[in-house]
């Protein structure tokens, strides 16, 4: 996908790519770099690519950095390529822009013939030697390279060294010292380069504070903010880091975090914990969700307030474990036998991930039904700098919940016999939920169809079944009034109207920014809540449009199919991707231009 660089000539941003063998701390290096940029008031957007191998494969990490108030997405062209080994240079040198720079170790790589010095600035940095001289260890080669990047871009060194110091201060001050020495040496090499490198990164004064987080950190934070009590998971890429995130904070925040024996246990435990009244969540990727399906249905019929993170990767089956895809939308909508209300929300970025997560807990409690947060590898794995979350906005809405006291104080929840009706048929479908411990709250939370008490035998009576089934399904109406609406932006008088869901919003935003700059008129809608589907809003969006397009990261066109099914409306154009890579904004830009 070699496309022109739509960022244009006078762009303020730089895209830096660091590549090397797996297991060489590439990701950590990229994150350190990003952190020091953000501390300097710049904004960043990272992209990591790695195979499902601990070592031996090839890893790459990109940091796009800009002084502008927001970096919307990663981009494909590379301004500075840091090749920690020869393979990286060979693999990625073609991605360098005209005038870009290659940082490499002259003892490892011969750039002769690899680059044309007319077009690419060669920056030799003897990484090994620097590290050896500083008495450091091999992994510090990264740090030397980071120093060179800073030097090359005239970025004040102290942001980097401060960042390194903060990072290592706790572990061992001598290591911090060595890192600083290595970075400083690398900086020298980077700044004294002979060829002209036109880009420079200056700190932004008085920039508002930024958070540097990936999607899993955002989801985890949202869950913590919501007052989560129990988090259960079995590791699975890209959800694993969310387990580590929660586990690292369990005692401090009073959360029980359980690495379970499998995903079946995780989901069942979460339903059990929800019965106990804890806010409970599990998260996994598609394969683990497959194993959760049965208990997901249990949550539906037992009306359990649970939150499930489904962070998808490229399938089917084990598929491409470390690569992204948006192909589990329909699976999320239809998983489990029988019919029950569910909510599916798909955050597009880290800000939404935080917000939708705490909101998911409210929805689960208000609706007493499972809520799915549908993310993907592209979101989970990559950090960007974002505005500080609005912690004040977080609310805890637990819906019709009785936590203490005696059910006699809630006479409307009792049957004629004075006993508590856990599944009382109500207009909005939601019954008052009394927690274990509340006097008089005997109940059966049931995987069988059941009557209002929760008893299973009576569930077989046709009228009871109908009443309970319809009661549950009625919750979808309530849900429609509670769930986050789609997000629209762009031209008021568009030539093309584009729909997407989830993380595709990021490249789309970037592509649209470029198009708007060039005067093209595009309007976009991100369908935030996938179920219940915002039929009216989507129909209205499509209804008046000149040309319509759906962009989604799968083969079959799942969002498009959903639009067709719910709105009975077709779309004119579509862009799909299913090679494990996220959409690039260049690709989206190109594709929109074709349609325009």
């Amino acid at each position: 996908m070699t496309t022109a660089d739509p960022r244009g000539e006078n762009r303020p941003d730089l895209q830096i790519k660091i590549g090397g063998p797996a297991g060489f701390g590439i990701k950590a290096a990229g994150q350190t770099l990003a952190r020091s940029f953000v501390h300097a008031g710049l904004n960043t957007f990272d992209l990591t690519e790695y195979p499902s191998l601990i070592k031996g494969g090839h890893n790459a990490y990109q940091v796009r950095v800009s002084p502008e108030p927001e970096v919307l997405c990663h981009v494909m062209p590379v301004d500075i390529l840091v090749a920690l080994d020869h393979e990286t240079a060979e693999r990625h040198v073609s991605e360098l822009v005209e005038g870009g720079a290659l940082i490499y170790d002259p003892d490892k790589t011969d750039v002769e013939g690899l680059i044309d010095p007319e077009h690419v600035c060669a920056v030799p940095v003897p990484l090994d030697t620097i590290v050896k001289e500083a008495g450091g260890v091999a992994i510090m080669r990264n740090v030397a390279a980071l120093g060179a990047v800073a030097g090359l871009a005239k970025f004040p060194l102290h942001y980097l060294t401060d960042s390194l110091e903060a990072q290592f201060a706790k572990k061992a001050p001598e290591i911090a010292e060595k890192n600083v020495a290595v970075a400083t040496k690398g900086y020298e090499f980077g700044s004294k380069t002979e060829c002209a490198f036109p880009f420079r990164l200056s700190p932004v004064e008085d920039a508002p504070p930024r958070l540097l987080v990936d999607g899993n950190e955002a989801i985890g934070s949202g869950a913590l903010a919501a007052g989560i009590g129990v988090y259960c998971a079995y590791p699975m890429t890209p959800a694993s880091s969310l387990l580590s995130f929660m586990a690292a904070r369990d005692r401090e925040h009073g959360v029980v975090v359980k690495h379970t024996e499998d995903e079946i246990a995780a989901m069942n435990m979460v339903v059990g914990a929800a019965f106990g009244g804890a806010r409970a969540m599990c998260a996994t990727s598609g394969g683990g969700f497959s194993l959760m399906v049965e208990a997901f249905g249990l949550a539906g019929v037992s009306e359990s307030a649970v939150v499930v993170g489904l962070l998808t990767r490229a399938g089917p089956a084990t598929g491409l474990p470390t690569w992204t895809e948006q192909s589990d939308l329909r699976f999320a909508l239809h998983a489990a036998q029988g019919e029950f209300p569910r909510v599916v929300v798909a955050p597009g970025d880290r800000t939404q991930a935080f917000e939708l997560t705490w909101k998911a807990f409210n929805l689960a409690d208000q609706l007493q039904t499972p809520v799915v947060i549908l993310g993907d590898t592209y979101l989970s794995d990559n950090r960007a700098s974002i505005p500080v979350w609005d912690l004040e906005a977080v609310t805890v809405e637990r819906g019709k919940l009785v936590t203490e006291g005696d059910m006699v104080e809630h006479p409307d929840t009792l049957g004629e016999d004075g006993l508590y009706l856990r599944y009382k048929v109500t207009d909005d479908g939601v019954s008052v939920r009394a927690l274990p411990g509340v006097t008089g709250a005997c109940q059966v939370v049931n995987s069988y169809e059941h009557d209002e008490y929760g008893y299973g035998a009576q569930g077989e009576v046709a009228a009871t079944r109908i009443a309970q089934h319809e009661k549950r399904m009625r919750k979808l109406d309530l849900a429609s009034s509670l769930v986050p609406p789609p997000v629209e932006w762009g031209s008021e008088d568009p030539d093309v109207s584009v729909l997407c869901f989830g993380t595709t919003v990021q490249p789309l935003r970037q592509a649209m920014a470029w198009l708007a700059r060039d005067g093209a008129k595009v309007r976009a809608m991100q369908v935030v809540t996938l179920w219940p589907f915002p039929a009216d809003a989507v129909s209205a969006f499509i209804g008046g449009a000149k040309k319509t397009m759906v962009i989604e990261g799968n083969y079959a066109g799942q969002l498009e199919g959903l639009i067709r099914e719910v709105c009975l409306l077709g779309v004119d154009h579509r862009l799909h991707r299913y090679d494990g890579r996220p959409f690039s904004p260049e690709q989206v830009h190109e594709s929109l231009k074709e349609v325009l």
């Binding site: 934070s221 008893y455 035998a457």
Partner: protein, 295 residues
């Protein structure tokens, strides 16, 4: 405090007349009375099977879970509220078949919980297929030429994997069962009571009469030491038997086969579980400090 009768619901038990579940139900209610359970804090989780129909008949905080998944559901419940007494009733197909992994991992956890297995050596509710504890070579509808597997050594498994109270009961002896259930509930840690529960409809081999001729109480044997782990594991091997074994050949020990006091429970390792966790969700958690770490 509620008494035996109080633990009933308006629903009449629907087990087949003569089913071993009636006696277990009786013994359990007695144990609840003896251990002073109250309705609000006695949480019972059932699997799916005939045994699970007890969910309709027991007044408590009930959870009729999925087939084979009573243990993780119960674990989640226990981990959400330290004030509950958590009891699991599971079937042999349910707990030792489809749910076996959870059983072993729960043993390893020594989670503070009582597990009662309704071990009728058959799938009752689905009409008589072989279960993981069905005798070797027994013929059932799913194994018409005989079960080719050895039955699960439930006792050996539980002891080998870390359960700290492992007992076996017989549904034909209510007072003995009651005492086992009581001890199990009072035990701090993962307590398993595997009960021989004759299924009068589908299991024509392991009947009340068959068991009566074979069971003996370990506590009546002089010298049996339930704290000797290797000894208890060795004894578990004696529960392996053939279809044709005579009462002399297969003696089946019942009673407390293994017990270990003082090992920390899973909950002991969770200082954050010092109160019901719903109390953590009364208002948004203050994350100002944590968020600063992302800046």
């Amino acid at each position: 405090m509620p008494t035996v009768k109080d633990f009933e619901t308006p629903n009449k038990p629907t087990w087949c007349p003569g089913c071993g579940n009636f006696n277990m139900f009786q013994a359990l209610r007695q144990a609840y009375e003896l251990t002073s359970q109250d309705f609000e804090h006695l949480a019972v989780v059932w699997g799916i099977g005939c045994h699970g129909n007890g969910a309709d008949f027991t007044r408590c905080q009930g959870f009729h879970a999925l087939h084979g998944r009573a243990l993780p559901a119960a674990t989640g419940l226990a981990l959400s509220n330290p004030e509950l007494t958590v009891v699991v009733e599971m079937g042999d197909g349910d707990g030792y078949g489809i749910g076996l992994g959870h059983f072993v991992h729960s043993c390893r956890r020594n989670i503070d919980m009582t597990v009662v297995a309704h071990d009728n050596q058959i799938y009752g509710l689905t009409t008589g297929q072989a279960s993981p504890t069905t005798e070797h070579m027994m013929k059932t509808v799913s194994t018409p030429t005989g079960v080719l597997e050895e039955p699960v050594n439930t006792i050996g498994l539980a002891i080998a994997e870390g359960a700290t109270f492992v007992a076996r009961g017989f549904a034909g002896d209510v007072p003995h069962m009651t005492a086992l259930f009581q001890q199990a509930i009072e035990h701090k840690g993962f307590a398993v009571v595997d009960v021989f529960q004759p299924c009068v409809t589908w299991n024509k081999l392991n009947t009340f009469a068959w068991f009566r001729e074979r069971v003996y109480k370990v506590e009546e044997e002089s010298g049996y030491d339930p704290t000797d782990r290797a000894g208890a594991m060795a004894l578990s091997l004696t529960t392996f038997h053939d279809m044709a074994c005579t009462p002399e050949q297969c003696k089946l020990p019942i009673g407390v086969l293994y017990r270990e006091e003082g090992r920390p429970t899973y909950q002991d390792g969770l200082p954050q579980l010092d109160e019901p966790l719903w109390k953590r969700a009364l208002a948004p958690r203050d994350l100002t400090e944590m968020v600063r770490g992302f800046m």
